[in-house]
Symmetry: C2
Subunit: 346 residues, 2 copies
């Protein structure tokens, strides 16, 4: 791995989000979302700092560069061929990253190619690689991204507006709806759930104290999302909880439907080699709550997107960052590049 | 007004909320929500400070005492007979107020009787005086309070949980739902409203910039509520907006229904002098958006509370504070006193 050619074959992926920063090094040989040879991974539990100027580039570099140098040392290399940095907030809070990262990363890592991507794009590439389709990435928040890979089509995005403006069907949305139903039972209002009130009190203590525990926190969406698994656990025996998950599933399918590449209304009479169905993948921690959510999501997708095929996500956003970096290095990038969601710097 | 007996007949009311502090002085003669002789009013646009210990008593006194002294001077009096302080957050954030206000107010104003009340109680007393019934107070948030005036019945409260846990049907709720529908139209998701998207862009600029304008603010609920009048304006021509107001009306009626004193299921065969119907009053700035909301609220109340009679609120929370102070002074308090919602100190 110490020859110059081998060094040039190395790609570095970065996944920066609310729960920390992960860095992976792999060989570009695989080309797909899981490059041949398992990547080496280093993780920092500290997220990059977000300030008045958006995500602070220096704080991200402080987490990425030591990990990258350590990974390169282990690979007996001094530089890599391509880098993709995927970051939550890249589109809206990424001005400092776009200004500082290109120069700093080139000086430290010597790569020839660099892409800065929204975490929605790395989630997409991790789930579907460079195939057309739609990906719903859901955790505390939720965003759907789709593409038919045509330059004119570009990316279609739905939701991802945060817990006060949307993120419909996300962990924060489900948890918030569950807590509201619990407090309706507490008040004797319609639509309440005694089962959820019992879980609220088990998790947070007396209901009257919940506002004082939630509103002063900076991580309110995460506190709300922490209650989503309780809603899922109650759903088998509690109709209100099951209804919340059905509504969440409808919103999730609505986001997928809004971004799914359109199937031509009058397909060619000659059967195509590949049928023109839209592949849809679900990715992210929310789907870990399992069948209580997945079963209604499958039903809603079947209803709203009868032409779609639900596929298993091949990997996560760190795999997606490696996939984009490998495609850059081998000049095989098919995913649409633009200035915001997927910015190819060089 | 300078005789000792006249001074003892004066009552002081305080209304402390998110938009400032108002102080009124009146004679206790009236006894009802609007004491005879229009009260003198002083207002401070600066709200009391809320810190780690809850509402800071000293900051409230800094606003109340200069206004009270000025009003007493104008009445050629040195002290008053009774005081009622109504404050938003009294129940949950009022520890410092309960500790500091009694001694400080007695020293400064020499009153014999004092009550510390939640703003929901002063809203109730302002709207219905000391009659049994239910009051829904709605602005940025929403809370419903009801009582049959029996000591064992006490107060029944519904909602008032804040914009992340409830406040269903409030200004923040309507505005948030309107912005969500606008962004659904922006994304091409189901349930979107092009009319609301147009209003969003007119008020806040391009949709993509809205998260950056909303989330860093400390007054997020007020920002959301500022969009509620836009939803009301769109409702005549936009079905999505009308649907949002119908849902809000349902939630408002649900809160009223949860607190309305129960009418006996088997009324006495002798007709009572007053029929046992529940009086319901609506109060607060939200209802200023008028018929687009009031019409569906009337329909929902008729549906959910067929035995209720919607009455016009006689006054606001400052009138309610004067009403409670006058009742204290004349030993005619009928509203239920407790340690939290209506705390009679002396």
């Amino acid at each position: 791995m110490s020859s110059s050619a081998a060094q040039q074959n190395l790609v570095l992926g970065v996944d920066s989000g609310g729960s920390g920063v992960r860095v992976a090094l792999a060989s570009a040989d695989g080309g797909g979302p899981a490059p041949a040879g398992a990547p080496w991974i280093r993780a920092s539990p500290e997220p990059a700092v977000t300030g008045a100027r958006g995500i602070d580039a220096r704080s991200l570099l402080d987490r990425v560069l030591p990990a990258a140098r350590e990974l390169l040392r282990a690979a007996e290399a001094e530089r890599c061929g391509a880098v993709c940095v995927g970051a939550s907030g890249m589109s809206t809070l990424g001005d400092d990253l776009r200004a500082v990262l290109p120069g700093a990363l080139r000086e430290a890592l010597g790569m020839r190619r660099l892409a800065l991507a929204s975490d929605a794009v790395t989630a997409y590439a991790g789930a579907l690689g460079q195939r057309p389709g739609a990906v719903v990435a859901a955790g505390t928040g939720i965003v759907a991204l789709g593409t038919d890979l045509s330059p004119e089509g570009g990316w279609r995005r739905a939701d991802g507006w945060g817990h006060l403006l949307g993120d419909c069907g996300s962990g924060a949305w489900i948890g918030r709806a569950g807590l509201e139903a619990a407090l309706r039972a507490h008040d004797g209002r319609a639509g309440g759930s005694a089962a959820l009130l019992e879980r609220l009190e088990a998790v947070f203590g007396p209901a009257a104290g919940l506002p004082g525990k939630l509103y002063p926190r900076a991580d309110r969406p995460a506190v709300l999302a922490s209650f989503a698994p309780e809603v899922a656990r109650c759903a088998a025996a509690d109709e209100v909880s099951a209804g919340i998950l059905r509504s969440a599933a409808r919103h999730i399918a609505e986001a997928a439907a809004a971004v799914c590449p359109r199937v031509p209304e009058h397909p060619a009479t000659e059967p195509a080699v590949e049928p023109a169905v839209c592949e849809v993948a679900l990715t992210g921690g929310l789907f870990g709550i399992g069948e209580p959510l997945l079963a209604p999501v499958r039903r809603e997708l079947h209803e709203q997107l009868p032409g779609a095929r639900l596929t298993t996500a091949a990997g996560g956003p760190l795999d997606g960052a490696l996939c984009v970096a490998a495609a850059l290095l081998t000049d095989t990038l098919l995913l649409p590049a633009d200035g915001s969601l997927l910015h190819v710097v060089c």
